[in-house]
């Protein structure tokens, strides 16, 4: 089965924020200004009710002018999702066969482990419902053959929806065009540390994703991997070993003498 993906061509993003509005509308979010840090960016960061943010990364150009490295920020729908690995509630986070990583809020217990396990710092705990929210890649739209709301609203074709295989080809072709246009460092962002992502980027400067607000080498935190792997096996050994050890100790050695063996009736 083909998996789906979103492609973000940052070189054609004009910062119109139509995708933000479409996301809020389709997902029926109550919009609240949570903060303002003096930039063109709608909010300083993602929120439990704001899943798709255009980051207006301000940089100074060589000629002294400023420029924006605009990048759409949302759940990356990792091939190997850290949120899913850390979630203790079965079914609360799931990965569809088409690659979408989605939350089932009826099963979410609000522990927030996914927030810690996510290498992109995307999921957010709602103070109202005490459950965690993030972009669903519009799984309720893609399931019926529609493209995600953000992509539907994009006026510049900066955003494309399709199969992941196709989009990787398109992204590479676009990066080739940018190289010909003089952006020698152009390339795609599809970080291998999380097995690749179902949100792909074309960057003019692929060697420096941090200038777009994207982590350079994201991977699942080692404390999460250690906890979910060796620690669990060692712990299981302690639990079963403890119970079996006690049982076989009793079989082999029996109880301590009570000190009352000489016919004392106590």
């Amino acid at each position: 089965m083909h998996t789906v993906a979103k492609l973000v061509d940052t070189s054609t993003c004009i910062g119109c924020k139509a995708c933000e509005v479409a996301c809020q509308e389709w997902n029926d979010q109550d919009f609240t200004i949570s903060g303002f840090d003096g930039s063109y960016q709608t909010l300083p960061d993602l929120e439990h009710n704001f899943w798709n943010l255009i980051k207006f990364n301000e940089l100074s150009r060589e000629d002294g002018q400023m420029t924006w490295n605009m990048a759409k920020y949302q759940c990356m729908h990792c091939v190997d999702p850290g949120c899913l690995r850390s979630c203790p509630a079965p079914g609360a986070i799931f990965q569809q066969k088409d690659g979408i990583v989605d939350f089932n809020h009826d099963l979410c217990i609000g522990c927030g482990y996914c927030i810690t396990g996510c290498p992109f710092d995307v999921p957010r705990l709602s103070p109202n419902s005490k459950k965690v929210y993030k972009c669903s890649l519009c799984s309720d739209r893609t399931a019926v053959g529609l493209e995600p709301a953000c992509i539907k609203a994009c006026p510049t074709n900066c955003l494309t929806f399709g199969t992941r295989e196709d989009l990787i080809q398109i992204a590479n072709a676009r990066a080739g065009e940018l190289k010909q246009d003089g952006h020698a460092g152009a390339g795609i962002y599809n970080p291998e540390g999380v097995g690749g992502t179902h949100v792909l980027y074309v960057l003019k400067d692929a060697a420096d994703p941090e200038s777009y607000g994207l982590p350079k080498a994201p991977k699942i935190p080692w404390t999460v991997s250690l906890w979910q792997g060796p620690v669990k096996w060692l712990g299981n050994l302690v639990f079963t070993g403890g119970i079996l050890g006690a049982f076989f100790h009793y079989l082999r050695y029996g109880p301590k003498p009570t000190g009352d063996e000489e016919g004392i009736d106590a």
Binding site: I109, T116, T223, W227, N236, G242, Y250, G259, D260, A266
Partner: protein, 204 residues
């Protein structure tokens, strides 16, 4: 001949011990529910996942307070002396009922004292890491990353110690369960398991 009961644990000691035991049982079972997806049915039994996420930290906090209470009433008696150290070096002999040559135990033997101090230290670690996991939205990311690893490791150690403690307090040492439930032991039991203690209280 009918033995006169020897008073071993006061009502306050027993009450604190059993409140701690109940809160530990709840914290351990609700914690195990979140330990593995295969044990998540425990969360269902305990009222569902949301109730478990809500209740586990409270259960743990109550347990930590009761460990604090046990520290206040027992810490002085739990100091290890040289006899206890000799006892601990020969704990293997105690385990196989070959007690000849083992130093006599006071009110608590070396193993019981180690359980006490082990639980005090592990509970402090569980409390510190647990508070971080309780309120993730207020905690720096590095704290959360550390706590997500430390909390289950320490919890597994703590549960392992308590499995041993339950075995010792029930099947392995007959008479000790009654001591913690009703508060008394027989003179024979006291002489056999805690002779130094029995001599001390018999003097008065």
């Amino acid at each position: 001949m009918r033995a006169r009961p020897v008073h071993r644990f006061s009502f306050a000691e027993r009450a604190i011990h059993w409140l701690a035991a109940l809160s530990f049982l709840y914290a351990a079972l609700s914690g195990l529910a979140l330990w593995s997806h295969h044990l998540y049915w425990l969360a269902t039994v305990l009222g569902g996942g949301v109730a478990t996420r809500w209740g586990h930290p409270w259960g743990g906090t109550v347990f930590a307070f009761l460990v604090g209470a046990m520290f206040l009433i027992w810490a002085r008696q739990m100091r290890l002396d040289s006899d206890d150290r000799t006892w601990l070096r020969n704990a293997k002999k105690y385990a196989v009922h070959d007690e000849a040559g083992l130093p006599e135990a006071g009110r608590f033997n070396g193993g019981q004292k180690m359980l006490f101090w082990g639980q005090v230290v592990l509970t402090l670690l569980l409390l510190a890491s647990g508070v971080i996991l309780w309120f993730p939205e207020w905690m720096p990311r590095n704290f959360r990353l550390a706590a997500i690893l430390i909390h289950p490791i320490v919890a597994a150690g703590s549960i392992g110690m308590i499995i041993l403690h339950i075995y010792m307090g029930t099947a392995a040492v007959p008479g000790s369960f009654r001591a913690m439930i009703r508060g008394w032991v027989t003179p024979g039991w006291a002489t056999s398991h805690h002779p130094k203690w029995y001599r001390e209280i018999s003097k008065n």
